[in-house]
Amino acid sequence: MLDQVFVLLKQWLLGHSPAAIQPGVSILLTILPILLVFPVLFALTTVLERKGLGRIQNRYGPNRVGFYGILQPMADALKSLTKEDIVPTSADHTVHFLAPLVLLAVAFLPYAVLPIGRNMIAANLDSGVLFFFAIGAISELSVFMAGWSSRNKYSLLGAMRAVAQMISYEVPLLLSSIAVIMAAGSLSTVEIVEKQAGFSGIFPHWYVLTPWGFTGFILFMIAATAETNRSPFDLPEGESEIIAGYYIEYSGFKFALFFLGEYLGMFAISGLGITLFLGGWSAPLPFLTWIPSWIWFFAKLLGLIIGFIWVRGTLPRLRMDQLMNFAWKFMLPMALVVVVSAGAWRFLPQGVIRWLVSVVFIAVAYVLLARGVETRNKIAKRTYRFAE
Amino acid sequence: MTGLAGCLLVSSMLFAVGLAGALTRRNTILVLVGIELMLNAANLNFVAFWRFGPHAGAMTGMIFVLFSIGVAAAEAAVGLALILAVYRHTKTTDLSQLTGVRR
């Protein structure tokens, strides 16, 4: 009952509205929650990130504004709304204005195919996963627009790096999703979640609990970190490297819009990772199914966000050539091996044999590829030199 | 005017625009852009006939367009690589100056 509370609310509101405007009201009631919930989640994530990073770096985060700093997003919003909007005179004004708008539009669209709960999806497309990736591919163009329109060499450099990085990491992202699509037999996100909603004994049927699914999930998350330009892949926007990359020349509200777009992209791709690998809205243990499905989705989303923040605070930034080598020479072959392993899993009979075959495929490939990547760089063992 | 005729007219207009651009513009990259527009116009034609045509059940139209998109992508990649190579050689992408073969 609590599980379907939003669906029932929508149907009750639809029943009480006149028949002439029912389609419009239906669309509005579907879209408005997405437009309200995820920006609020963005606000909470900014505080969580700054506090979390602060604690990892052995300092407090922001703690002035509200109770333990929780009203910090309000202060940030006020600041960015009241800052002067400076546009350089030699910038291309039309493209400069359009870039954050295109980014925002493209950042909100993928939420339409994420199933947030049982029967709670905005658009049950037959090819939902493909829709997600198509819209993600369009966002590269908006990054380029932002970087080029500023007529600033650093900005253009940051934009080209960002686009090259996004294109390179799109391939392992797509390939690891293909393994899931193959196993589920459908491109529709609703069907993929429903295939993972069963239990065998105490273990759920989530794809992350299979050898190819586990590897695929790790590859997917690494590629997702790179796609959304999060650390350790944030060279295009690194503050110490290139002075904030492709959004140098943006100030005030447009900068906040870029920030919003980036975080929304992060949530969307985490949502897709949850849908494909972590079982969407399904509970992890059979005796926990009384907790509503949408709470499970947001709990998993929160877990992934904490993972992103943790990785940002821990790992150093990758250099551009290290980044590209990692994508093309390690992740792409690994993703192909995951696809093969998923195929073997699908067609072998249940039991120890298919676990063994899948794990052997992945382990052999990993060892060979890791050796290949390692020997190329000839990293010496670290030596310490102390002051004497 | 039915849906089929509307789609066909749009694709003819797109083809004409692509052709005009490919014939008049001076930069090699824009000629390639015109060629891509012409390919897209032909694909739109296929999809229109698949949707409104008599043999509505067969998948032939869609499969053809899928392969056409793939071939166009490969052709764009190779064409742009050629433009890069020519630029590296002659330092220009201006068609009126790339007359080396004519002499």
Partner: protein
């Protein structure tokens, strides 16, 4: 005129404006961005005609890859710095325009005087992904393999052609 619905007209207008802008603008990067708009318009037209997979594949391949590739090559060949010189390649650009207009006139005449005017609206064909996958793997498996081979060859060829030559 019953099937020339408003969404179709809007999408067609966006596509044609984008395509004309791609061929008319002076700055190369503006042309490339207008081209991306035109591609997105065509993808939306496919979606409105019921070809779901095709529309999304068009967006993924054309807007996400080919438009970005064109932009990269424009920047690598210094097209983004200065305005390109006046349009014409030929001595009289008007001949190109006349040829294009003549071809459009012939095509439009052919469309308007053919059976297309009288085709009644048929039901949208069933085009699930499952059917498309079955068709690709059963009836069209040979073209599928050939296109895989061709894409590999094009990939390797493009990389080799565009690679910097080793300094001798």
């Amino acid at each position: 005129m019953r099937e020339m619905t408003v969404p179709f007209l809007i999408l067609a207008a966006v596509t044609l404006v984008g395509a004309s802008a791609a061929m008319l603008f002076r700055g190369l990067v503006h042309c490339a961005l207008a081209l991306a708009v035109a591609f997105a318009g065509i993808g939306s037209l496919y979606l409105s005609l019921g070809a779901q997979f095709l529309g999304l594949a068009q967006l993924l391949v054309y807007v996400g890859a080919i438009a970005v590739l064109i932009v990269f090559v424009i920047l690598l060949t210094r097209g983004g710095d200065s305005d390109s010189p006046p349009l014409s390649a030929a001595r009289w650009p008007i001949t190109g325009l006349m040829v294009a207009m003549a071809i459009f006139a012939i095509l439009a005449w052919a469309v308007l005087h053919s059976f297309a005017i009288h085709t009644a609206g048929t039901l949208a064909p069933q085009a699930t992904i499952r059917q498309m996958g079955t068709a690709l793997m059963e009836s069209y498996v040979l073209p599928l393999e050939v296109i895989g081979l061709m894409l590999t060859a094009a990939l390797i060829g493009a990389v080799i052609v565009a690679m910097k030559e080793n300094p001798r």
